[in-house]
């Protein structure tokens, strides 16, 4: 299960993800993180059963947490199966099947947004705001 975590970094505060790992014992896989001096956003992957405890812990440390239900979504009426998205995705979400139709492995997606920029046909979108 993927969670999008936003947090502010106050002086002296401990790194929030490390703290949650330490206190809950849940293994957190950080798939994408943008962190600057005052705030941060991280996309993390955790086992489904640990969702509640991680969410609560993070919230108690002042972060806002949203569950990402979907990865990138392909609009089949707009897609022409060119494949422009295939090589730009860092997580190999897209591939062409034996009939040259583009397939999506949604679960691998970390919503970096790169493919949306590369698609000439506006066929890719996501439900969550980034």
């Amino acid at each position: 299960m993927k969670l999008l975590v936003n947090f502010s970094r106050k002086a002296g505060q401990k790194p929030i993800i490390a703290q949650v790992v330490k206190e809950t014992g849940v293994l957190i896989n950080v798939e994408r993180a943008i962190i600057d001096s005052s705030e941060g956003e991280a996309l993390i992957d955790i086992p489904d059963e640990s969702c509640k405890i991680v969410k609560e812990k993070m919230a108690s440390l002042g972060a806002t947490v949203r569950v990402l239900e979907h990865g990138i979504i392909l609009d089949e009426t707009e897609c022409v199966d060119c494949g422009a998205c295939v090589s730009v995705c860092p997580h190999e979400v897209f591939y062409l099947d034996e009939d040259w139709v583009v397939r999506v492995r949604e679960g691998r997606c970390v919503l970096c947004g790169r493919c949306m920029e590369a698609c000439p046909h506006h066929a890719l979108y996501h439900k969550e705001e980034l």
Binding site: A84, V88, L96, R114, E117, A118, P120, H121
Partner: protein, 507 residues
């Protein structure tokens, strides 16, 4: 053994087409068939090979005739959904180009979208202006139109169906947005376009069966080859075609507007040509495989017409998804759709099998020896040499920061190139770097301690437009002009750019 040069007449082929007995295959099936049957048997067996391609074809557009209004207008400036169309055709004719962008929605809507919207049955707003004449008194008009309201909507594309297209890679350290799509930095991906084995011209590179008057599939309609396309260069393997077809018979399945991020609007269109198999030469040319069609892999990081080729690649490698470059495996992406190209070739196959399309030999040939020329430039664009400032104030790397401050205070410059003992460029310091060093006095005392070592430079013969791109991209206002050995021969600053008359070469 007696060698007989077998032939099959176009009349015989058309007789079979009309009787519904023609053996038609798509171009991707032909290599296997020829390998299995042999060339002579393939000639006897196969009557028609259908080809297809579906990709971005920027040089496309359509002629429209709107019919006369009451009172009538001779339209001089014309917009369709805020996309300007050509106003030099008199009265109520116009031509809209696919890449023309909307005045209100920029690269999110353009001529290609107008064409797709018309085909999709959507209503399009026409706005036009005129100065008014005795015979055409009306000065403005605004009306909503459907495709069926137009007298004619004739797609006429000056340059379609490129025989093949060079593949693209990017060796720079930043993302490039090109008409070849998104190119990741540090050779992160390869982008290519073209249907390879299915491409019409690759199946008849000598242009024996493809020429003026030949019937084709265009955007789902039965269209026709007008003749050679613009920039046609079959001698080098880069032939193009000018094609036409009735937009009213087209389908959105094969006509799609698109936006290449950072480049602009373009039109994806499906084009297919049936090739009659009249002799052994045509059997051979239609037996072409992806492996046989080679292109250069060009470095789009070099902003010049003569981009260096990294290596040669063929369509089989490109389509495999991975190409090796200098020992590294790099993922590929196609911009054109192979699935749609196959769909075009198969639809065309169906038309010929059902006798809906008969074959025609070219009424006028396209000359296969044609080669494209670059632009004749009578006036060369400005080069850095023309506007650079030759008064260079520089500083040695082992001089004190104070000395640099003094030089900056005296001179009119904010940038000091830093040179080593041999007089070669090793860094740069700006007024900002110096003030920072002075404001926070630390251990740094020498210029070399505070200079920026990564210096963006230009050369005397670099075109000013390229130099300006560098300044903009790095968000800087000056850069040293260096020779081959890295001697600083001049400086180029934003102020120098003002020397260009009226800034006419600039954005």
């Amino acid at each position: 053994m007696i060698y007989t040069r077998m032939k099959k007449s176009i009349d015989l082929i058309n007789e079979r087409v009309r009787d519904g007995n023609a053996r038609v295959v798509t171009a991707d099936e032909m290599p296997g068939l020829v390998a299995e049957l042999g060339e002579e048997e393939a000639l006897r067996e196969v009557d028609v090979v259908t080809t297809g391609t579906f990709g971005a074809m920027c040089s496309s557009g359509a002629f429209f005739n709107f019919g006369h209004a009451e009172p009538p207008i001779r339209m001089e400036r014309i917009w369709l959904n805020d996309v300007e169309a050509y106003g030099g055709l008199a009265a109520v004719d116009t031509y809209i180009g696919a890449t023309q962008q909307s005045t209100t929605r920029e690269d999110q809507y353009g001529g290609a979208h107008v064409i797709e919207d018309f085909i999709a049955g959507k209503s399009v707003e026409l706005r036009a202006m005129s100065r008014g004449t005795d015979c055409y008194p009306r000065r403005t008009i605004t009306t909503d139109l459907l495709l069926e309201h137009l007298n004619q909507a004739i797609m006429c594309n000056p340059r379609n169906a490129y025989q093949r297209y060079n593949a693209a890679i990017n060796t720079t350290d930043r993302v490039l947005h090109t008409y070849m799509g998104m190119l990741l930095p540090n050779s992160g991906n390869i982008s290519f376009s073209g249907a390879g084995v299915l491409n019409p011209l690759s199946n008849d590179p000598k242009l024996r069966m493809i020429g003026s008057g030949v019937p084709i599939f265009l955007g789902g309609a039965q269209g026709m080859v007008v003749g050679e396309g613009t920039q046609n260069s079959p001698a080098g393997g880069f032939g193009t075609l000018m094609v036409t077809g009735n937009m009213k018979e087209m389908s959105q399945d094969y006509v799609r507007a698109a936006t290449m991020q950072g480049y602009g609007v373009t039109l994806y269109i499906g084009v297919g040509i049936p090739i009659p198999v009249v002799d052994i030469d045509i059997v051979r040319s239609t037996a072409v495989r992806d492996e046989d069609i080679e292109v250069d892999l060009l470095d789009y990081g070099i902003p010049s017409r003569n981009r260096p080729a990294v290596r040669k690649v063929n369509y089989a490698e490109l389509r495999s998804g991975i190409v090796e470059v200098n020992g590294e495996e790099i993922r590929t992406s196609s911009l054109s759709s192979y699935r749609k190209a196959k769909d075009v070739a198969e639809t065309l196959k169906g038309w010929v099998e059902q006798g809906k399309m008969t074959l025609v030999l070219p009424t006028r040939p396209i000359i296969p020896e044609t080669r494209v020329k670059p632009m004749h430039e009578s006036v060369h664009g400005p080069r850095v040499l023309d506007i650079m400032d030759k008064r260079v104030v520089s500083i040695g790397e082992s001089e004190e920061i104070r000395a640099a401050a003094q030089k900056l205070l005296k001179g009119e410059t904010n940038h000091l190139p830093v040179i080593n003992n041999n007089g070669l460029l090793v860094g740069i310091v700006t007024t900002y770097d110096i003030s920072k060093a002075v404001a926070n006095p630390g251990k740094a005392t020498l210029v070399r301690d505070i200079m920026k070592k990564k210096v963006v430079t230009t050369t005397q013969d670099e075109p000013v437009d390229i130099a300006v791109q560098k300044l903009e991209r790095h968000n800087i206002s000056a850069m040293p002009v260096v020779d081959k050995e890295m001697h600083v021969v001049a400086m180029l600053t934003a102020i120098d750019l003002g020397k260009l008359i009226g800034g006419r070469w600039l954005k």
